[in-house]
Each structure stands twice: as structure tokens, then as C-alpha cells.
């Protein structure tokens, strides 16, 4: 700090607290709503303080005794989301590390072509090729399956570039020393490159886990069997109720369950994750 201006410091703190208040407002309301019975929402205005139905709501959602607009329990949907997020995160890391390794540490005919094919995927987000991708997955018989949920999202140019960038920053002499020490491509990868990438892998894992967990459009398209619903995509379904009364308490309980895992991952690995995210700019 260059100089000391008390009023300025005070303004800063006030603004920051205001920001936090606005950011947190929806969460506060969600937490409150999750603690009331459904009847509390008929009266016309959201309650502002906690009720005593938190556990009841939680049990209702996790076991789905019929109050939810779908036939599966939130437990099942959480599991589906977890599988989807894990497979996508781990799968993306594995295959993009492999391809980045090939592109950086080998010279082979077609290398440029591979690079460009991967690069192009940057420009083809799922949203712009919805219908044909859906057709491919349908033709392969992957609708309503974990494979269909994950594999089409597993190729990632971003992760490949990130690893490529990192591998290129590893000094050449390290590879040379390893070659003199008798390490071949597999051993060099396993003994040297993999341990050196640990931080990058962890940071990327956070980002990709969140990416996978938060998928919406894709599961919406390819799951018609409720057994494969993910919790994030199901929230919207819950809001369509037959009797006109929206069960806000159950929706909010589900919503909190849906955002808890990724939020915990981000907060637990805050430092690594922030660093990893910023690397993407370079």
C-alpha cells in the first residue's frame, strides 16, 4: 500500500461486504427455503428465517417418497452426477495428457494434422452441433447410458493445450538427462513427467470436475430414462408440478445438494484451482 487513507480503506471494506451480501443472497434464501414445509410457500412471501423442516426435507429428497416431480431419488441422481463428473474429469485428463505427450515429445507423420484436428474442437462446443451429435450417439445406441453421458464430452482441446504448454516448459535437458540415464518414452513419462505435472493435474481436475458436474444441455438431450438423470439437469424438471403448487422447499434442498460437491471442491483446492484457471489465458 502506497499511502494510508482511512476513509478509502473503509469504503473498500464496505463495498466488499456489499458484494458478498449480493453474491450470497440467493444462497441464504435457498438455505432458508430448504428448512420449511411446502405449505410455507402458499402464504405469498418467502420466509426470511430458518424453519425446522431441514432434516425432513433432506430425507424426503434423498429417498424421494414421491414429493419430487421425478421417479428417482436425489441419491441416485447425485451418484449419476458423480459418475459423470469423475469419468469426464479423469478421462479428459488421461486422454489429453496422452495426446499432448505424443505431440510434444514425438515427431511423426501426421503430427500437424492431429494437432489441428484437436485444435478445431475448440470451435465446436456441443451447443452448435446438438442435433447431429445426438444422432451419432443415438445410432451408437448410447442414449440413456453412462457412456453416452460422458464419452462425447471427453475430448478436450483446452486440456490438451494446457498440458502441451506445460510439457513445452519442461527443460529439454531433463529429457536428455533421463535418456542418458536409460529412460525410454514410457519410463520418462511415468518417472519424470507425471510427477512434475501433479499440480497441473490437480488444478485441471477441479475445473473439469465442475465442468462435468454442471453439464445441463447434454444430459437433457440424451437421457429419457429417469434412472440416468443427473441432479443438475433434474432441478428444472422438479419445477413442473401437476397440482400447480411448486415444492420450493424440496427444490431448494435438491439445489443445495446439487451445488455442494463442486463448491466444496473449489473451496478445498482454492489455490491450485485459481492458478490452474489462470494458466488457461496463456
Amino acid at each position: 500500500m502506497v499511502e494510508n487513507r482511512p476513509w478509502l480503506t473503509l469504503t473498500r471494506h464496505i463495498l466488499l461486504w456489499l458484494g458478498i451480501a449480493v453474491i450470497s443472497l440467493p444462497i441464504w434464501v435457498a438455505l432458508v427455503a430448504a428448512t420449511h414445509p411446502t405449505s410455507a410457500f402458499v402464504s405469498g412471501i418467502l420466509p426470511l428465517w430458518f424453519g425446522d423442516q431441514a432434516v425432513t426435507n433432506l430425507v424426503a429428497v434423498l429417498s424421494n417418497d414421491g414429493g419430487l416431480g421425478v421417479s428417482v431419488s436425489a441419491t441416485r441422481m447425485l451418484w449419476n452426477s458423480f459418475v459423470m463428473a469423475m469419468v469426464i474429469a479423469v478421462g479428459k485428463i488421461v486422454i489429453s495428457m496422452m495426446s499432448a505427450y505424443a505431440i510434444v515429445y514425438f515427431r511423426f507423420p501426421g503430427r500437424q494434422l492431429c494437432f489441428w484436428l484437436i485444435f478445431i474442437t475448440l470451435m465446436l462446443p456441443v451447443e452448435v452441433r446438438i442435433l447431429p451429435t445426438y444422432e451419432v450417439v443415438a445410432n451408437l445406441g448410447l442414449l440413456n447410458s453412462y457412456a453416452g453421458l460422458t464419452i462425447p464430452l471427453i475430448a478436450s482441446a483446452t486440456a490438451t493445450f494446457l498440458f502441451r504448454q506445460f510439457f513445452m516448459s519442461v527443460p529439454d535437458s531433463l529429457l536428455e538427462a533421463a535418456r542418458i540415464d536409460g529412460a525410454g518414452p514410457i519410463r520418462f513419462f511415468k518417472d519424470i513427467l507425471l510427477p512434475l505435472s501433479a499440480n497441473n493435474i490437480a488444478a485441471l481436475f477441479v475445473i473439469l470436475f465442475i465442468y462435468g458436474w454442471n453439464q445441463y444441455l447434454w444430459p437433457l438431450l440424451i437421457t429419457t430414462d429417469e434412472q440416468y438423470y443427473t441432479i443438475v439437469m433434474a432441478i428444472k424438471r422438479l419445477m413442473t408440478s401437476d397440482n400447480g403448487l411448486i415444492p420450493w422447499n424440496l427444490i431448494m434442498t435438491t439445489t443445495i445438494l446439487a451445488m455442494l460437491p463442486p463448491v466444496i471442491v473449489v473451496l478445498a483446492m482454492q489455490k491450485l484451482f485459481v492458478k490452474g484457471l489462470i494458466e488457461q489465458e496463456k
Binding site: 527443460p171 538427462a177 535418456r179 542418458i180 540415464d181 529412460a183 519424470i192
Partner: protein
Amino acid sequence: MASLTLTHLNKTYPNGFTAVHDLNLDINDGEFLVLVGPSGCGKSTTLRMVAGLETVSSGDLHIGDQRVNDLEPADRDIAMVFQNYALYPHMTVYKNMAYGLKNRGESRADIDRKVREAAQTLDIEHLLDAKPARLSGGQRQRVAMGRAIVRNPQVFLFDEPLSNLDAKLRVQMRIEIKRLQQRFGTTAIYVTHDQVEAMTLADRLVVMNGGKVEQVGPPIELYEQPASRFVAGFIGSPAMNFLTAHLENPTTLVLPNGQRLELPQAVDHSGEVMLGFRPEHLESCSPEQSDFTLSVEIIEPLGADTLLYGNFPDTDTLVLAEQSGKARFHSGERIPLRFDRQRLHLFDPQTELRIT
């Protein structure tokens, strides 16, 4: 331990640049050979070809009796010390040194014995559990050395290993490297751009320039009998002075100030020549005996010696004279100087080769 033979070795990059041109060298068993030259002269490329890190474009490379052109680096039985040390950052010192042995499938007990022995030799036993990031530059240097000696290879390769150290440490490690090499008697090839390092370490010195060898020989030979103007200017510190002069007849040289010098031996040349003389081979004398008078512009007192700079009379050529540190000089002083006649070097201005 082994000898090395490099025969008609060439390296041309895909972009057409020739880094090494028709290199021929025989390196004796146990010899300490230093490759020296300015950056881009091909010395590092040569070393990397020997290591197997760079493919050979044409020519043959033998270690002992075996042609190694197509062998993997690991199969050549060499060890290399890199400029940036190339220690594996995530491994402890112990694991860094053990890695090559482990990959060769040596037993745990053998590895342990060899690593501890090498660590003892280098006095880094207390660092075995540390990771490279925690070590000082000098310590990293030692570990890099340790990684090389632990394998007891046929040949040590050094790629400017001291250039990342500060001046004082550099001198210390220089001595240590020499001591170790003598102790193990392992053939060594050492690349540097620092001619002092080259002179002090080498059994034999190879001066390279533009991808070609300029001269090969023991350091003192290169100092006393440089084969070309390039070697003359590169070897020796401070660097040699050069003047354009004129040969009146095979034994008489005319300097730019009109002074005539009688040469000790007749030379096989006539007309214009390049005269080279080292700063330390100029002595002050009485005005009558002098070959020229230097009007001193800049004085660098180094303690043991004093360096005097000034233009050679009637020219724009800056000349440096090294004098004993005992004498006192001041700027603007005019000092009569005399050449050591036995230590004059003449070079052909066209070919830049030594005239004898």
C-alpha cells in the same frame, strides 16, 4: 574408460544450417579434452552428437572400438553434466543419483553403495535427502557431478557446467572437476566458451570457429604458436593486440609509425601482414631502446598487474600493454615500450593463417 574417434563428422540441420563441418578428432583414453570457441561454433553440437542427443548427419563416431552413431544415449556408456544441471526436481538427491543405476536394473544394495560412495567423494552425503530446489548453485553442481560419476562411465561429457556459477565458485569447482577426472582417469570432453577455464582444465584444447576446428593441441602450444589469427585472439587473457604492418624483406618488418623491426627468423611472405603481440610481451624500456611510445589513455590497476590502454602511434588501433603492478602510471603519460622479439606472431591478412 575408452578412447574416442570422430571421423569426418558433419551436422547439418533440416533448415540447411551446417553446425559442424568435417570434424576429425582422436581422443585418447583418460584424456581431458576441452572444446572451446564462441557461441554457435559447433562445440555443443559436437558434444551432443557424442552423447547421442543429436543425430550425426554424416561421418563416424567410435567409442573404444564400437561405432556408436546409431546407439541410444543410454547405451553409449557416457555420463553428462548439463549447463543447467538438469536435476529431476521432484526427486531427492539420492534418487537423482540412483535413477540411472535403477534403470539399468542394478540391485538395491549396489545402488546404495555406489550412491553413498559418490556422495562421499563429492562431500554431499548430508544432502542426500534434500530436493534440488533447496540446494545452492554449487551444491546442485556437485549433485550433477555425482550423477555422472556414480555410473562410472567410459566418458564424461561436460556442457558448460560452470557457467551458471558465480566467479569464485567457478574457480573452486574447476579445480574440483580436474581433481576428480584425474582421480578416476576417465576420458572427458568438456565444452566451454571461457578460454581461462579451457586453458586450466585441458590436456588438449580444440578451438572451434564456424563449425570447423581451428587448432588442436596442448594449451601452452596454442598460446605460444597459435595457428590462426582467430586462435591467437581467442586464447590468452587479456587478448592479443593486432596491428597492420609491412614486410620490407623476409627479415624486416615496418610498423605503422615507421619503426623497423628485425625478425629473429626469415619469414616466407612479403607485403602487408597482420602483426600480433600479447600485452604481457611488451616491456617498458628507455626511449632509445623503444619500438614505440604509448600515450596512456586509460589505466586499469589490477594489483599484481596494471593494464595500460592507448592508441598505437599514427593509428587508430587501441593497444593494451600489461605492466608490473609495482610501477605507478598516470593518464596522459608517454611510455616507451619494446616488443619481445621472440614472441611476435605474424598472420596472413587474407587467409588469417600463421606465417612462419
